[in-house]
Amino acid sequence: MKAIIIDEPRKIRVGNWEAPHIAPDQVLVETRATGVCAGDLYIYQGKNPYAAYPLVAGHEVAGVIVEVGAEVKGLAPGTPVVVDPFIGCGSCYPCRVGKSNCCANLRIIGVHSPGGFGELVVAPARNIHRIPPGLSFTEASFAEPVAIGVQACRRGEIKANEYVLVLGCGPIGLAIIEVARARGARVVATDVRETRMETAS
């Protein structure tokens, strides 16, 4: 398949990557829109200690199902979906208590396996979510960063009318601000960069 390949830090090109195959519990997704996250830039810069080069990055993936494994139920080719890139092992302590995001053997699509900077992405069926009607692929690719905002608001138990101070208006700060506002919180935000403050307001 065609993919953006990062061969080593600061070396990036469009090239050919081995076509992926799916296991019985997996789904093959053809990418349509993939967000670029600071994490992708860290991989490009050689700042992610878990990155093993060469690799295909991109973990904010929206696309269309092209193939489903034999054991997969309820998902069919042609369905527009987004991919939750975090894959827990299911057996370590954090996985057993429902915190697979902190899995001791965490695997991330776009770090440990090819991500959305290529034509095709393989994911376990449980990591696949249907895109609701009316959302474009570009909009849907925001599901991952907005989910980080949802997680932060859940962890902070943010409720309506509470004063919430968000320090930092980068991409993740913005997602948190918007989810907190959607919950009816009174949000005040700060950043050292004025352009970011303008975007946040």
Binding site: I12, V14, T31, Q151, V164
Partner: protein
């Protein structure tokens, strides 16, 4: 502080990853409030909190890593149109990725948020 009559915020969310900012959270949160740490400091970087505040303020300090089981709610919020974040996206053809990614590293403010799209698909 003014808006809360000096009480401090019910919730302070740290999203900078700067240790000096992280250390301020304890001064900004109301007694009995919550601090959520989302930003990442560099490996091994210590963050110092005045120890007496742990009991005096009895605040809850939690970390928040990526997300778990948050995609359905995230997609609902996006579909409801209450999240305007995608409006700041700059879309570029996927195969232009190598060029725009290196540009973004050399000039961090160039795009608020970049999305690579398959124009040919």
């Amino acid at each position: 502080m003014k808006q809360t009559s000096g009480e401090g915020a019910a919730v302070v969310v740290e999203a900078t990853g700067n240790e000096a900012v992280m250390e301020q959270t304890v001064n900004l949160v109301a007694a009995g409030g919550r601090i959520v740490i989302v930003g990442l400091v560099k490996e091994g970087t210590p963050v110092r909190f005045p120890g007496l505040d742990f009991t005096r303020k009895e605040m809850t300090i939690v970390g928040s890593r990526a997300s778990v089981r948050c995609f359905p709610e995230s997609l609902e919020l996006l579909a409801a149109g209450v999240i305007k974040y995608p409006k700041i996206a700059t879309t570029v053809d996927l195969w232009e990725g190598p060029r725009v990614i290196s540009e973004l590293v050399d000039e961090p403010g160039k795009y608020h948020k970049l999305v690579l799209v398959r124009s040919e698909a």
